[in-house]
Amino acid sequence: TVGAVAIDSDGSVACATSTGGLTNKMVGRVGDTACIGSGGYADNLVGATSTTGHGESIMKVVLARLVLHHMEQGMTPEEAADTALSYMKERVNGLGGVIVINNSGGWTAKFSTKQMSWAAVADDQLQCGIYH
């Protein structure tokens, strides 16, 4: 799975997520990516997120909208991402990752799996990572 979140100079946010799914999946199996609120969500009033990981677990907790819910309650992107990923782990034993941006340009890349490749550009500075 691949994904992106962004905020532009007008302050608008957007998300995009794309995947081949799970290897050897049943024909017709659709995971979280195509489900709004699970594979991604974007609202200028809050921010945007794109998710990756075990799709069935992500759908059970509606992970993307859950991250934004926590930010609506005042959490930072980091806190919201950690809280939502922990909930998915404890509630349905699911692992995954999220990239998050809020509507003031704060951002994070968080994951509960061993690794997640990510990159970000802010203030003309490129950052990237794979490990915790």
Binding site: A6, C15, T19, G28, A34, I36, G40, A48, K114
Partner: protein, 165 residues
């Protein structure tokens, strides 16, 4: 507002010998999206273009390089969403196109729906002039090897991936 873009190339386990390819790919995607933002482009255009870079990169499980289903075929899902007006478009179980994220955006902009699936998505793609590619074009040696390895009687690929995300 200062523009910002963040991209991911998937959560799970990345083998040591493939790390550099992933790192390079996510950096290219982020820089592509950021160049659009810096030129006054929209967040929507930036995220679409960043994802296209990774769909075209064989390292990533999307577009070219997608994993295979139980029959050995590529079936893809994608979603795009605009925070301005909560508009969104998605496709699922779509085959034989190079960039599902482009089709998802067409669903958002050219239909009154949020999600088109399987044959419906393919009929819509043709109607919108999205070029069809052969399914084989989207398959890499690596994804085929993984598919074969997972066909062994004692393997349980879906369960084995749950812990990997």
């Amino acid at each position: 507002m200062k523009p910002v873009i963040v991209v991911h190339g998937g959560a799970g386990t990345i083998l040591k010998d493939r790390e550099e390819g992933y790192r390079t790919g996510v950096k290219r995607a982020a820089l592509k999206g950021y160049s659009i933002l810096k030129n006054g482009g929209s967040a929507l255009d930036a995220v679409e273009e960043a994802v296209i870079v990774m769909e075209d990169d064989p390292h990533f499980n999307a577009g070219y390089g997608s994993v295979l289903n139980e029959k050995g075929d590529v079936e893809m899902d994608a979603i795009i969403m605009d925070g301005k007006n909560l508009a969104s478009g998605a496709v699922s179980a779509v085959r034989c196109i190079a960039n599902p994220i482009k089709l998802a955006r067409l669903v958002m902009e050219k239909t009154d729906h949020m999600l088109l699936t399987d044959q419906g998505a393919s009929i819509f793609a043709k109607a919108q002039g999205v070029p069809e590619v052969s399914g084989e074009m989207l398959v890499t040696d690596r994804s085929r090897e993984r598919w074969k390895a997972n066909l062994k009687p004692d393997s349980n690929p879906v369960v084995s991936q749950i812990g990997l995300g």
